[in-house]
Symmetry: C2
Subunit: 289 residues, 2 copies
C-alpha cells in the first residue's frame, strides 16, 4: 500500500534527464517499426526510409521513443519511491505535442517530470511529461505518458477526470486499412523498448497473452502515419499533436483499420484490429494544420 504522503511528494518531481543520441539509421528503423513505407513500390513514403532522399525526415511521432529509457526506469518498478510489480504496469495513454519538426539525427535531451498521480480505485494512474530539447536547447516536443498500475489504487488520492473525445454520429469520413508484419514487434523493439512481452512467447504467456503483443507505440505510429497521409498530404510539418488511449492489445500480423472523422476539434479517430474486431486505440485525436 502506497501512502498518500509518498504520492504527494512524488507529484511534480523531475526525474533524471535522458540523453538520446541517434542517427539516420535510427530514424529509418523507427519508420520501419511503425509500418512505413505504406507502399515501397511508390515514392510517397521514401523520405522516411531513405537517408539520401532530398526531403529525408523523421516521422513526427518519433519523439515518443526519445524517452524509452524513462519507460525502462518506470518498468523497473520504482517511480519516485512508489514501488510495484512491473508486470502490473500498463501503458494507458500517450500524447505528443510538437513544437518543432523532430530532427532525423543528433542529440536530444529529455527532461521527465511527474505531472500527476491519480487514484482510480482498481489502480494508480501516473502521468509523466517529457520535455525534449534539441542541441540548440529549443523545445522539440512534449510527450505525455499515462501509466496504469493495476492493484495499486485505493490510497485515498484524487480520482482525476477523464477527457472523453466524442466520435461524431456519422459514418467515418475516411477509413484506412493496413496490415502489420508478423515480425512488426521484433522490428519495433530495436527502437528501444525491449520488454520481453513483445518478443518471447513464454513471457507473453505470463502476461496472459496468447502470443507476444505489438508495442502500443508501434500501433500509435501506424495511426499517426495514416492521419498524416489522409489529412495533411503526408507532410510531417503539418502534424501538431496527437493523443490516444491504448484500449486493447494488437498481435503482430493483424490488420489495423482506422476510422477517421474530420471535426472542428481535429481529426478524431479510432483503430481496430480487424481480425478480432477489437478496438485498440480510442479516445484519439490528431491536430494537423
Amino acid at each position: 500500500m502506497v501512502s498518500l504522503e509518498t504520492v504527494h511528494a512524488a507529484i511534480g518531481q523531475t526525474m533524471p534527464a535522458i540523453l538520446y543520441d541517434f542517427d539516420e539509421r535510427d530514424t529509418i528503423l523507427y519508420a520501419l517499426g511503425v509500418g512505413a513505407p505504406l507502399n515501397p513500390f511508390d515514392k510517397t513514403d521514401l523520405k522516411y526510409v531513405y537517408e539520401l532522399h532530398p526531403a529525408f525526415c523523421a516521422l513526427p511521432t518519433m519523439p515518443v521513443i526519445y524517452s524509452s529509457k524513462m519507460i525502462d526506469d518506470i518498468v523497473s518498478g520504482n517511480i519516485a519511491g512508489i514501488e510495484f510489480n512491473p508486470m502490473m504496469l500498463v501503458h494507458g495513454e500517450q500524447a505528443i505535442e510538437l513544437h518543432k519538426q523532430p530532427p532525423a539525427g543528433g542529440k536530444i535531451r529529455c527532461v521527465p517530470q511527474i505531472r500527476n498521480i491519480y487514484d482510480k480505485g482498481s489502480g494508480m494512474l501516473i502521468v509523466t511529461d517529457v520535455t525534449c530539447f534539441n542541441e540548440q536547447d529549443d523545445t522539440i516536443a512534449v510527450t505525455t505518458s499515462s501509466m496504469f498500475i493495476r492493484g495499486l489504487g485505493d490510497f485515498g488520492g484524487e480520482r482525476g477526470s477523464s477527457d472523453k473525445i466524442t466520435i461524431p454520429e456519422r459514418e467515418p469520413d475516411v477509413t484506412h486499412e493496413e496490415a502489420t508484419l508478423d515480425r512488426q514487434a521484433l522490428l519495433y523493439r530495436l527502437s528501444g523498448d525491449i520488454n520481453p512481452l513483445h518478443a518471447d512467447p513464454d513471457m507473453a504467456a505470463v502476461g496472459n497473452f496468447k502470443r507476444p503483443i505489438l508495442h502500443g507505440l508501434s500501433t500509435y505510429g501506424f495511426a499517426a502515419r495514416t492521419v498524416l497521409r489522409h489529412f495533411a498530404d503526408n507532410d510531417p510539418a503539418r502534424f501538431k499533436s496527437m493523443s490516444a488511449r491504448f484500449s486493447a492489445e494488437v498481435y503482430p500480423g493483424e490488420t489495423l483499420v482506422t476510422d477517421m472523422w474530420d471535426t472542428d476539434d481535429g481529426v478524431v479517430f479510432q483503430t481496430r484490429a480487424k481480425e478480432r474486431d477489437a478496438i485498440v486505440l480510442n479516445n484519439a485525436r490528431v491536430i494537423v494544420t
Copy 2:
C-alpha cells in the same frame, strides 16, 4: 582500357583494414534483413532476433557484412588503381568460410586482399578475400567476393577457370519456399550496403530494373538459413562454408524457392524467384557438419 601492368600490380595487394564495431542490435537487424525468423509465432528462430535468449547468436553468414565498407570502397570506382563506372559493377559470387562462430557483438578487424583479377572478355572479374579477426586476433571467417565489371575486359589477362557445381540428376531432396517482405531491401540496407539501387525507384530505373532490387547478400542469407534449418538442425555451429553465384536479381516481395540436394560434396542448392521462375542463386553449396 586498363593496362596489364596495372592489373598485375594489383593482384595480391592488401587493401586498408576495416574495423567493424557492432552490438546485439546490429546482429538482430542483420537476421531480420535476411528473413529471420521463419515464423515469429514459434521459437525456433528466436535466438537470432532476441538478445535475451539464452542461446542468442549471430547467423553464420553475418561476416559477409563486416566488409560492407570494402564494398563501398569498391563501388566508389577505384580498386588498386583500376578505375571504372560504379554502375557497371555487379556482385557476381560470394563465398564464406567459417573458422569460428561469429560473435553477436564486439569489434572485428577485416583485412581485404585482392586474390586475383580475370579477363572474361565482356568484363573484368575481381576476386577479393577478406580475413576477419576477432578481438583475440583469432580468424573468425574468410569471405570471398567476386565482382564483375562490365565492359572492362579484353585487357590481355588470364581468363581463369569457373568452378561448376553440378546438380544431381534427381528431384531435390528438400524444397523450401519463403516469401521476402516488400520492404526487405529497406531493412537489409540498414546492415551497411546503402547503394541507392536497393531503395530509390529512379536509381533502379537507371540500372534498367523495373523496381529497386533486393541485395544479393540478403537472398544469400535467406538461402543459408534454409539449408541450416533443413540440414543442420538450425544449429549455426554446424555451418562451415557456403558459396553461391548471383545469377539474377530478386525484387523485394518475391517468394524464394530453394531446391536442395544432399551430396558427398555438401548441400548443393539452387534458389528461384517463384513469381518469374528466374534462377537467382546457382552454382551454390553449403558445407555443414
